[in-house]
């Protein structure tokens, strides 16, 4: 599972409320940030609630981490993975 926040956050703090171990809104910040980009499977329910609850849909969740490179970009789908 891999989580990231794209541009457009309105700092409503909903994600921080649902999954405080994964999301954080630093004081005075203009965007929430992900403190744990690869949360444990046990947190999946909270993370999904946060994703669904985001009013501006800026939280992106990728369940399968195998296609994610260290840079955060997805590997090309060449059918071999």
């Amino acid at each position: 599972m891999h989580v990231r926040i794209v541009e457009g956050c309105i700092v409503c703090r909903q994600c921080e409320c649902q999954a405080p171990d994964v999301f954080e809104v630093p004081e005075g910040a203009h965007s929430a940030r992900v403190v744990e980009p690869s949360p444990q499977q046990a947190r999946e329910e909270d993370v999904i609630r946060a994703v669904k609850g985001c009013p501006v849909h800026v939280i992106k969740l990728r369940r399968d981490p195998r296609n994610v490179r260290e840079s955060g970009q997805t590997a090309p789908r060449d059918g071999k993975n």
């Binding site: 309105i10 700092v11 909903q14 409320c17 004081e27 005075g28 009013p55």
Partner: protein, 547 residues
């Protein structure tokens, strides 16, 4: 002759910041040595007569004294603070000696706290009361240098780091619901005989290390349904109840003389971008039995005649709302009921309103906030304005008094939006209508937008200004779409059109004001006290109120 002695103590100087204007000059401790007297009034000019023993460590006493304080809030409404009352109840059950002080009904709280001499002072504060709270804590520190000061409440919750960085008198900040964390903090601090390092890992708390760096421990989360039921009822006997009854008010319309607030749920799942949402998004409920038990207990012990439900969103769970109203009706107590914090205008229907009427509700406040579609989108309130208007008319037909409120000048709102909004409200058969300039409370989306765009006015630098002024509008926001002057003019005009050009409403308001002579005198006294207690000139009051 009273013995006095002088003890020189180092003062913890406030961290200097370019925006010290926020403290109004009251927070700067300077670097001077503080002179503290024991046994007499504080004075810088007394001379020592005999050596004075070291101050007793209050944490080593078996009498675990904790004081909780609600500072003066510059607002026309007053209700005793439920937050600190719940904390008081939890601490009392744990065997603490607790006192609660409320500066809104007691002019002598400082003397009272000095006499009580607590080891820990917990202060709850909204943004507008932060300055008053800090100034009072500084004055108290001169007499009680060992006392640990902890801030909590809405402002500390959203700005714990800044609050500790800017206010040296505060030792800790508590975040969100603190029934668990504050109780653990008190236990640990007393067990460690006041060693502040022993509480540094209490969850949900901000603290300062030896180098002065502020750290924020993550919150332990919110209390779940069953945990809310397990809380003791607020120990109202700690407050002067008869004085509270004389002053309790939330809104213009009231029927009872002995009013108490009750909160049956916590949290709100809506996204309104002007709201601090201190209790989070998750909607948590007390059981019906627990709530009616509290109402019965309030009636038996204090003969209350009106309940103010202060829930953020009472009708979020309609089935529960029905069940609770049925239970209140079954109580058959001679009590009026008011949803003082408002209801969501698109979450009521005829059946629910009928039940509310049977339960003793006489006034419905609908939190519509704006009658402009575009502003509703900006606020993310997403209210169905047509349904809201229908429900206002329905409530009037059913015999309720109906009120609403409107925010003018939300960031991004244009003159056309304001016109649309005001026209919407003026078409509704409302009995009361509160119009306020947008207050961008810290850490809300509205604040973030204004901060990013540079739309906060100079007045917004001072937290003392973060309250709703009705008679003199001084906005905290100025946008390219709307100047501060436009905003102030729009608010004045709508009050004139709504109240003074409408004979029926003028008469209704005059009747309400005439029915409550004590409160009117109380308001004038409050205004005098506000001016006297403020560290800055009373810029917000017209000369008419000078005394």
């Amino acid at each position: 002759m009273q013995r006095t002695a002088r003890i020189e103590l180092p003062v913890v100087s406030s961290s200097t910041s370019s925006s010290q204007a926020s403290s109004g000059g009251g927070c700067c401790g300077g670097g001077a040595t503080s002179l503290v007297q024991i046994g007499g009034e504080s004075s810088a000019h007394s001379t020592p007569s005999t050596p004075v023993p070291a101050p007793r460590n209050r944490f080593s006493s078996r009498d675990r004294r904790v004081a909780l304080l609600q500072p003066r809030i510059p607002d026309g409404n007053y209700l005793p603070n439920l937050g600190i009352m719940y904390l008081a109840g939890v601490l009392i059950e744990k065997g603490y000696n607790v006192r609660v002080f409320d500066a809104n009904i007691d002019d002598n709280v400082e003397l009272g706290i000095r006499r009580f001499a607590p080891a820990i002072l917990g202060i709850t504060c909204v943004t507008a009361a932060l300055g008053s709270a800090v100034r009072m804590a500084q004055r108290l520190r001169e007499f009680l240098p060992e006392m640990v000061v902890a801030l909590g409440g809405p402002h500390a919750t959203v700005m714990p780091k800044e609050t500790l960085e800017r206010n040296a008198v505060a030792d800790f900040c508590f975040i969100g619901e603190s029934e668990r964390s504050f109780a653990e903090f008190c236990d640990r601090l007393f067990d460690a005989v006041g060693d502040l390092a022993s509480v540094r890992n209490v969850p949900g708390m901000a603290w300062r290390d030896d180098a002065g760096t502020v750290h924020v421990n993550r919150s332990p989360g919110y209390l779940e349904d069953g945990e809310l039921d397990a809380l003791p009822y607020p120990p109202w006997h700690l407050l002067p109840m008869e004085r509270i009854f004389k002053q309790a008010t939330h809104g213009l319309f009231t029927r009872g003389r002995r009013i108490m607030p009750v909160m049956t749920t916590r949290g709100c799942p809506n996204y309104c971008t002007f709201c601090s949402r201190v209790m989070g998004f998750n909607f948590r409920k007390r059981s019906i039995e627990n709530v009616v038990g509290e109402i019965r207990w309030l009636y038996r012990n204090w003969r209350i005649d009106e309940i103010y439900f202060e829930d953020d969103t009472f009708t979020q769970d309609p089935d529960r709302a029905h069940a609770l109203l049925d239970a209140v009706i079954a109580l058959r107590l001679p009590i009026h009921v008011k949803f003082a914090n408002g209801l969501r205008a698109d979450k009521v229907d005829e059946a629910l309103l009928a039940k509310m009427k049977k339960a003793g509700v006489y006034w419905i406040g609908f939190g519509i906030e704006s009658g402009a579609v575009r502003t509703q989108e900006l606020m993310m309130k997403k209210l169905d304005l047509d349904l809201a208007a229908e429900n206002v008319r329905l409530a009037k037909r059913m015999g309720f008094k109906v009120g609403s409120n409107c925010i003018i000048g939300y960031p991004g709102e244009t003159r056309e939006d304001i016109r649309e909004s005001i026209d919407y409200f003026l078409r509704l058969p409302l009995d009361s209508f509160a119009v306020v300039p947008c207050i961008p409370f810290p850490a809300t989306t509205a604040w973030m937008t204004c901060d990013r765009e540079g739309w906060l006015t100079e007045r917004a630098r001072d937290y003392d200004n973060y309250w709703f002024e009705i008679f003199k509008v001084n906005p905290l926001i100025e946008t390219p779409h709307l100047s501060a002057k436009d905003m102030a003019r729009a608010i004045r005009n709508v009050y004139i059109r709504f109240y003074f050009l409408n004979p029926r409403r003028s008469w209704l308001i005059a009747k309400m004001l005439a029915k409550q002579p004590i409160r009117r005198v109380g308001d004038l006294k409050w205004m005098r006290r506000l001016r006297a207690n403020s560290a800055q000139p009373a810029m917000n009051l017209r000369p008419d109120y000078a005394c």
